[in-house]
Symmetry: C2
Subunit: 254 residues, 2 copies
């Protein structure tokens, strides 16, 4: 009987420390099949490559481990893997371990979570893992690895409801207190651009900013969990319908 | 007293017919301020430009109408506009009119809706408009324009709950039956890639596929509305938390 196939991707690139650590976390848990971007694709959300074709190249193959790099976005990687590359249907998709936090509204921009949501759209139990390590490429991923192993095993065993994936963020500290199931905090980015003049006198703008989050005081949020030493897990839906507003909105058009 | 400022963007580019039609739809409704991509950015979702700086250039200015093109994604356009370009806080953000449908799970990939969600994240009442015209660049946008006017005026007047924007899709037919408030249908893309060999013998892949949607039979969905001659409006949330699964998930970790 086949081992469960685990599709692994990320947005930092197929050779980032985070995806290598995630792969190590899952050794022996299943057959590991990696399809990940050939270079960093941070903040790509669920972007697709539609104007150009994409390419994929097998970089490594051994027993229970295959590695492809792909020229597309994280979601391209998942779509191409499922349609063209995997030997059979994955039992699990994991994305990460991202070098940097993807809590609160960052989930909207995250390529790590774009890939996990793509798995959920394809009815595959899917998880995004992120370590709150400030995009440090040499972060100590051993902090996150035991959680990646444990949570992946639970999802493999129990599955997830159709259309729901998990957004797992791990604080960058050694004394983690445990796991909290949380809701996505609402937060605000302010002062986002640094404006500079090029030698020709024209302006250009670097994205920058400060994140503020009043919601962090609410102990049901992912931000509260992370700032109080807990791993946060937010169940994340691909159905974006705001059901609670449907009835009121209907009254606008009667 | 100032007229309400209306920020307009899209993902087809600042000179696409759709955004010009949306602008015409809103003449006289407020002061119109356009910041839109300098070229098409379809399927960019909520992607951000983080590795490079972006630029913006004023293309046109007259009474009540300013047009900038921006080198970034639709979400970059919104962020840059709000932080650097607009003269005051917009009372409304509208995105579109997209040349092509953004119903069902397409909302996840849509740059049109990425921009609307960015507006919602910034607490601005926001709407994405899409015409189901198969990406036809010369589509008859006059079908969509009266709905853009009416719905924009309603939102200006009544506002929207914080964190919720509207995903409006308009069928490409002249005899539209009316407006339906709907939920996002769940659907599936299958057979997505066309594989070809380049002259060097290496494979490359074009994204392609077929969309199937059993949910279209359910008259509460956007897909049902569009296939039955109605404009669909889905209230769309930027809080992706799957609240209904939180309690069960908590049991996994006790």
């Amino acid at each position: 009987m086949n081992k469960p196939l685990i599709l692994i991707t990320n947005d930092d690139g197929y050779d980032a420390l985070g995806i290598r650590s995630l792969t190590e976390s899952l050794r022996g848990v299943g057959e590991l099949f990696i399809v990940a971007p050939d270079s960093p694709r941070s903040a790509q959300s669920s972007a697709l490559t539609v104007v150009n074709p994409i390419r994929a190249e097998k970089m490594h193959e051994e027993s229970d481990l295959t590695i492809y790099k792909c020229s597309g976005t994280p979601v391209d990687c998942v779509k191409l893997a499922l349609d063209q590359l995997v030997p059979r249907r994955p039992a699990l998709l994991v994305s990460g371990i991202n070098h940097g936090v993807n809590s609160s509204s960052s989930v909207i921009y995250s390529g790590t979570m774009g890939a996990a949501m793509e798995g959920a759209l394809n009815h595959i139990p899917s998880i995004g893992f992120s370590l709150c390590c400030d995009h440090n490429p040499d972060a100590d991923m051993s902090i996150a690895m035991p959680f990646a192993t444990e949570i992946s095993k639970k999802v493999l065993e129990r599955g997830l409801p159709d259309g729901i994936c998990l957004n797992v963020n791990i604080p960058y500290e050694t004394a983690i207190k445990g796991v909290r199931i949380a809701r996505q905090a609402m937060g605000d980015w302010t002062e986002e651009y640094i404006c500079r003049k090029d030698p020709g006198g024209k302006y250009y703008y670097w994205l920058s900013g400060n994140f503020s989050c009043e919601d962090r005081r609410d102990n049901t949020t992912d931000e509260w969990a992370l700032h109080n030493g807990y791993v946060s897990i937010v169940p994340t839906a691909v159905d974006l319908t705001a059901y609670g507003f449907i009835n009121e909105l209907k009254q606008w058009f009667v």
